[in-house]
């Protein structure tokens, strides 16, 4: 069967790829575009490790077909740092050791960035609900939540 030709934007750059109809966006990012930051934890939308934004909306890339990305703007963890300069969330996660094995971290960072863009001053409860779809099996969430809240405070002061 002939592959589908898709033209899209990934992290601000025009991208073209060929994919099978049943390939997910996650498969395309990892296996065709070499963007391996998004992880497949479950493949069923439960764990959030594959989180990306599509046209500014946070989604699980495992629950979207690659073909659906036609004409869309996809943002992944690879687009989060500005060159060598880490995003404040990335820096805080390192400073506060808000990760252990790192599998969930790209998804959590992408999700947290999406939250702070919509709500620069979230309560702890809002952060916990927003990130409820990002599972971490190592740290127990507390450091993650605190890192997001402290980054939010830092970004508010900086702006």
């Amino acid at each position: 069967m002939s592959k589908i030709h898709v033209t899209t934007t990934v992290n601000g750059d025009a991208q073209e790829f060929l994919c099978e109809a049943d390939e997910t966006l996650l498969d395309v990012l990892r296996d065709r575009l070499g963007l391996t930051g998004a992880k497949e934890g479950c493949g069923t939308g439960d764990c959030g490790a594959c989180s990306v934004t599509v046209d500014g909306r946070l989604v699980c890339s495992c629950l979207m077909l690659g073909a659906e990305a036609e004409g869309r703007e996809v943002e992944t963890i690879e687009g989060m740092a500005d060159g060598e300069k880490l995003h404040p969330l990335q820096r805080r996660f390192i400073d506060m050791a808000a990760l252990q094995c790192g599998i969930c971290t790209p998804g959590i960072l992408v999700a947290a960035k999406s939250l702070l863009e919509r709500n620069p001053d979230p309560t702890e409860e809002e952060v916990r609900y927003w990130l409820a779809g990002n599972l971490c099996r190592c740290t127990g969430y507390d450091k993650i939540i605190r890192a997001v809240l402290e980054t939010a405070a830092e970004m508010r002061e900086a702006s």
Partner: protein, 288 residues
């Protein structure tokens, strides 16, 4: 598998109606792609309906709201007018899955997935919502409770799809609510759920009611006897107890890993009385 992304409803219907083999509507994908990943679905083709502009909008129509089939839960929650008009329906849709799932999942998909535990469906049934079905024979508007006919099964015929959900106009002093029980606070499937929609008169007596239960039978069910009991009531303790008794009696649950028959039967009544109180307050009533 073939992937189709038509930009008009007519084209989508043509593809669905003309398909040989297993051709599925791909809406938010939060059920279909999970099923494909889990080797439980092997469609020959999918028809992605999200490129059809008319299915992506929330519009006011005859005093009510028409929600396009491809509108996701997050978009509903961000729509101030819809939230003000039908808070219970919006909350119910917003309970489905995570933030990520909310960015994709739709009420039309939730309805057509036909899970008895679908959170948005009891709220839509209580709201008296109509599903607009488009197919080779044209358009028909059907009460949402007539769409699911069993777990995973709908009354749609080949070539048909749900194009929108219509939440009707309702009088002043109306309110709705949906509650579900899950063993944790987020990211779970309803053990039992209840949607209630009420309209009050100026003295606070209920003049119109609809009550629907989820996850306690093969399909979401309307409970007309609960509505009949509520009409005329001021939702005092006696009425709340009767409501709980009627809803528990109407529940026909199974025992499975999420809950026992006994527990679900009880919780259906508890949720009904709590949801009714919220709906009553939203309608401007002051419960005693």
């Amino acid at each position: 598998m073939h992937y189709h992304a038509p930009t008009t409803l007519d084209a989508a219907v043509d593809i669905l109606a003309g398909a040989s083999g297993d051709c599925r509507v791909l809406n938010g994908g939060t059920d279909l792609l999970v099923r494909m990943h889990s080797d439980m679905a092997h469609p020959d083709a999918v028809v992605d309906i999200k490129r059809i502009e008319s299915l992506r909008t929330i519009t006011k129509e005859d005093g009510g709201w028409r929600i396009g089939a491809a509108v996701c839960g997050a978009e509903m929650g961000e729509h101030a007018g819809l939230v003000a008009a039908w808070p219970g329906v919006v909350e119910a849709a917003g309970l489905i899955g995570s933030t990520q799932v909310q960015g994709r999942a739709t009420m039309a998909g939730n309805l057509c997935n036909a899970s008895p535990a679908a959170d948005s469906v009891p709220a839509m049934v209580a709201a008296g919502a109509l599903a607009r079905i488009v197919g080779p024979e044209g358009i028909r508007d059907v009460p949402v409770e007539e769409i699911p006919v069993g777990p995973g099964k709908t009354s749609l015929t080949p070539g048909e799809l749900v194009a929108s959900i219509y939440l009707p106009s309702r009088p002043e002093r109306s309110g709705d609510a949906y509650l579900r029980f899950i063993p944790r606070t987020e990211m779970d499937i309803a053990v039992a759920g209840c949607g209630v929609s009420l309209t009050l008169d100026e003295a606070g007596a209920i003049t119109h009611a609809r009550v629907a239960l989820g996850a306690v039978g093969p399909t979401v069910m309307l409970v007309p006897e609960a509505a009949r009991m509520l009409v005329g009531s001021h939702l005092r303790e006696g009425a709340l107890q009767q409501l709980a008794t009627i809803c528990s009696a109407a529940a026909q649950p199974i025992t499975d890993k999420r809950g026992t028959e006994h527990f679900r039967t009880h919780v259906a009544g508890v949720l009904a009385r709590r949801a009714a109180l919220i709906a009553y307050k939203r309608a401007g009533g002051t419960p005693e």
